[in-house]
Symmetry: C2
Subunit: 350 residues, 2 copies
């Protein structure tokens, strides 16, 4: 193994697997009444008390999904939880429990994993979710995080992808593309640093974009808002791979077409400015950027009055019959087909 | 990327992530009435109908938990499911659903993943479990499999680790140590093959041991048997890390001591023979070997008559007060403390 030259670093081997899990999770508190037994037995026990349970899982791999040269471990832990909670909220459900498994090479000292778990704990605390289990093992290279999230919903309020109907309005929360541009900024700074390690990056003009990339928030608030204003979406999906790709999923599942209006796509002013700086088209970035973790959903036309003027929600189009296809109506009022160019995790590297 | 010289190999990039999941899981059938929605939305939906839910997860890493030079991918898929179901059965629960996430490098063609999923599907089919979700992503090196299993139980029949009481009998299913010795045999053959690639290994004399290593079975049958003969264990754990380690977990959780009788530990005749060949002590192998996936549990003395003579179950000791400590009574009738020397996933490599 690597020699441990820094005396302040604790090697993982000193603790052993069980010691490590106990050490990393000892400060986590149980928040959900449905959590009967959490970490410490062969399996956790959940009693959802008459509700339906939703289950989702995501895997984050070093060098594929994150770059530790600019991703602080605490942020990574937080983001790994957000990615999963976002899928639970996209079912219009309440996130209640998570399991977290990590594979880690011996180059990481205990203090690094403590940082990672501090981010996981912060996410659990803010989103009112219990950590109920996991697995900790060694990897031959790098860090890998596998999170499974559980949630609960009343069967009547659960929303799937397949319920959109002709005439429904297409709505998105927040704004799009910022996370992708935050990544572009961070990767540019990494290149600058490689050439001149003494350069001090000024990330202030990019603060919003960088935050969206490093510390995204899942839209629990939107699920709560929809409940409060009594809007039941007809279909919903979270935006992890870019707006185009998610619209295609939703319409394919619902067997519908769509008209998406370019001028309606919500963009943050900082995004528009930085797209100009990078000479990128902001619409393309919003359509294909990914990692926004906003919610994309459809509502009945009669619910329009309830969401009108809400700063978190934007109507960006409407559902059409399947035969009409999936179309983007540009600012020049031409119609072009929507194609998926989202980031593809398994695309061969050229 | 690696050049694809073999025309019969399909590269993963051709399918894309969504195409890949659909392709690999299209033949899986839903078997559980509690599975409302499986793969294809942001999350799966489960309706456990008044029962408690158990959740467990395990991560298998190439080069740490398995060696593809002798582990066929179909067996690996099967084993990855078994490892998790075993934890569900150890709660005296019925396994009902799994999620499977894999990280895989481009060196694996589609056909390799099809083999892996054939093993997963076989396990789901035999154990009556639904695959309800997962994530498929690329890795920079090797193969990694993360499985989460869900199960259901009536609250009254669920068994945890902490219920053992002074005087309870300690029982184990099946026999111990075979999986570890199977691994020793396979690793020896691998070394022989390295020296002489034309050598034809004769694994016939080691068939049982090798099968226990490559294709272990989780003890669903034992959970069903206990229900049938109306035995409610007071505490239960599955043997993944070796008997010593699991006894220590069970007794620590239950705040008890134990007397374990060496002569009672169930060993297969093939194990005894091969331990002699390898000059290893068979008791040590059974105590520390790991990967047996048998169930270790405690029962009230009054239940002894119900299990007596059952070929699947062996009484190996009894629970004592905590102060008496954890003791192995050897064949020579001396008492020695039980210590955990199970395989430690995070131990520094020397």
């Amino acid at each position: 193994m690597f020699e441990n030259k820094d005396e302040s670093r604790t090697s993982l081997g000193e603790l052993g697997e069980f010691g490590l899990i106990n050490h990393l999770t000892q400060t986590f508190k149980i928040k959900q009444s449905s959590t009967v037994t959490a970490i410490g037995d062969d399996a956790a026990v959940i009693d959802p008390d008459g509700k339906q349970l939703v289950v989702t899982t995501d895997l984050l791999v070093e060098g594929v999904h994150f770059d530790l040269s600019f991703m602080p471990l605490k942020h990574l832990g937080y983001k790994a939880v957000m990615v999963n909670l976002s899928d639970v909220y996209a079912m219009n459900a309440e996130a209640t429990q998570i399991t977290v498994s990590i594979a880690v090479s011996n180059r990481f000292p205990l203090e690094a994993l403590e940082e990672l778990y501090a981010g996981i704990e912060l996410a659990c605390s803010i989103y009112n979710v219990d950590l109920i289990g996991g697995d900790t093992t060694s990897s031959t290279t790098g860090l890998l995080i596998s999170v499974t999230a559980l949630g609960q919903a009343e069967p009547a309020t659960l929303v799937k992808r397949d319920g959109a109907k002709d005439g429904d309005l297409l709505v998105v929360s927040g704004d799009l593309g910022a996370s992708y541009m935050g990544l572009q900024v961070l990767e540019r700074e990494k290149q600058v640093y490689k050439v001149n390690p003494n350069a001090q990056p000024d990330l202030e003009p990019y603060a919003y974009l960088v935050e969206r990339q490093l510390k995204p928030e899942a839209r629990k608030d939107v699920v709560e808002l929809l409940k409060k204003i009594e809007v039941q979406p007809t279909a919903m999906i979270d935006i992890s791979d870019g707006l185009s790709s998610e619209i295609i999923h939703l319409c394919k599942s619902s067997k519908t077409g769509v008209r998406l209006y370019e001028e309606k796509i919500p963009l943050d002013p900082q995004l528009i400015q930085v797209c100009e700086e990078f000479e990128l088209d902001s619409t393309t970035v919003a359509l294909s950027g990914g990692e926004d973790y906003e919610l994309l959903f459809t509502i009945k036309q009669e619910d329009y009055e309830k969401i009108k003027g809400n700063p978190h929600l934007t109507v960006i189009g409407h559902i059409t019959p399947e035969n009409d296809g999936l179309n983007l109506i540009t600012r020049a009022n031409t119609s072009i087909p929507i194609v998926a160019r989202g980031w593809n995790a398994l695309k061969d590297e050229e």
